[in-house]
Amino acid sequence: MKGEARKKFTREVFSRPKSLVDVRTHFCPGCHHGIAHRILAESIDHFGIREKTIGVACVGCSVFLYDYIDVDVAEAPHGRAPAVATGVKRAQPDKFVFTYQGDGDLAAIGTSEIIHAANRGENITVLFINNTTYGMTGGQMAPTTMLGQKTSTSPYGREFRNDGYPIKMAELLATLEGTAYSARVATSTPGQIRKAKEAVRKAFEMQIREMGFSVVEFLSTCPTNWGMKPLDAQQRVLGEMSEYFPLGVYKERRQADFV
């Protein structure tokens, strides 16, 4: 079937989001960045805001955001994406502004920037990818690395007496008055992906309705640096990671709360 006949007798149920660039990504097999990218692109399409969106890429595996998402993108220094996004949003309050950050970026070097952007109620949306390691630099210990997890800089396993505990950013950011929406999602099953999509749309809505800062934390995989097969990596997310980092919505501001 081709051409007119195809249009007449078939119904499109699945296609590449308009805002997702048709190129091969550099992500490793089994990495969930691709899923998060897709959800991001679908949400941009859903609200029809591609031409008024400005993204801010962080330092790490996700820096190549500008090659994959068909929107204007600024590259931020490591950890500073929320500050750069603040500068963009303050200059262009009518535009949709998001950051896309990894755990080293957001929860270690950029802790100050993320907390103060949230606390100011900065009207931006943050997609936060937590895969418990520094992916691009070769699997070093991250602030989110689980206790006992072996990484290239915690070869004997993360030990709380030396390295402290994995940090729970979705919960932490939910405590701040300026935060309108904070949720943690995963993308290891079709059901989780649907919920993740809902969460990202909610987060987008918060910004569109000028309700304040919104963040969605993704529990993600890094099979390469975890030394796992992709399916085992999925299981790790569903198992120990979800136990320590519970999925759910930690804060959702209603219009009525907002004065």
Binding site: I54, A74, T86, G87, V88
Partner: protein, 365 residues
Amino acid sequence: MTLASAEIRRELMKGNEAICVGAIAAGCRFYYGYPITPQNDIPEYMSAHLPPIGGMFLQAESEVATINFLLGTSASGMRVMTSSSGPGISLMQEGLSYMAGSELPAVIVNISRSGPGLGGIAPSQGDYFQAVKCGGHGGYRMPVLAPHSVQEMYSLTMLAFDLADKYRNPALILGDAIIGQMKEPFVPTPYVPTVPQEKPWALTGCAGRPRQNVKSLYLKDNEIEVHNWKLHRKYRQMQEEEVRFEPYRMDGAGIVIVAFGTAARVSKTAIQWARKEGLPVGMLRPISLFPFPSREVDEAAAGADVVLVIEMNTGQMLEDVRMSTRHHDKIRFLGKPCAMPTPEEIHQEIRRLAGEIGVKAGNAR
């Protein structure tokens, strides 16, 4: 309009405030900053004066955040400024390197204080190296302007915005506690733009055009080398087109002072005293510290008996003076870290040098 109403009234202001007036005149509507002495007049002025004219003032959680607010607003195509002092400027070095690499314009004001470390709040020119050689990583340059009067705090700020836009590069104003806190009259001459105001590279959403980005990461083969040569050509162009200096009483000057900012301002008084005594002294005052007026310094050194470099540090610009000329044997230095040399001290040094070259006071030329 009558002549009287067209007249531009003189204003009496602090140097720090004149910077704000200059920035607003040049169309800057975005200011971000973090408190630090001795530049607090600038954020205070901006927080009061920007919102009523539709501008944005935002106090950041740190200078690290500040410079990245600038990055985002500059990437949006807007004129944006911050100010700080030594320790805060140190924290901005990362962002400045990124902005230079990403080719983003902005104006950064350093009302410098004493260092290193927390140092003190006394005036100093100890940040010369950091400003001129650039303290961030990777190797980049910025236009650096050194005002020596409240008038120049005003006019050089306007110029800094034009230079930043012309070269798509951060530009720095290097002042100090004295020039920032000093009050004197200045004439707020109208701003006349010297560069086009359009910024087609700005990130404004990809309506009706392909997406674009602002970045400094170049990982593909050879890309970063090509990018570095491109940046280098800009810095070369700055050296060819942006050298600014003031020759002061250089007629027949056997003694040539080289000084900038407050040190130059004080030197002018000492030069006037010495000239009254008939001592042949003048000054070559660099206004742009980068690009440095190397050729002019070399020419002055060639024609002089002695070159006296005066700085409020232990010798930083001195190195650039040495690099500008082969007449090293003529170069002398008067330095005072973390304090202003008095006109008396400079006058005394001029007299001593006059003796060294065999000129006596009273022999009017």
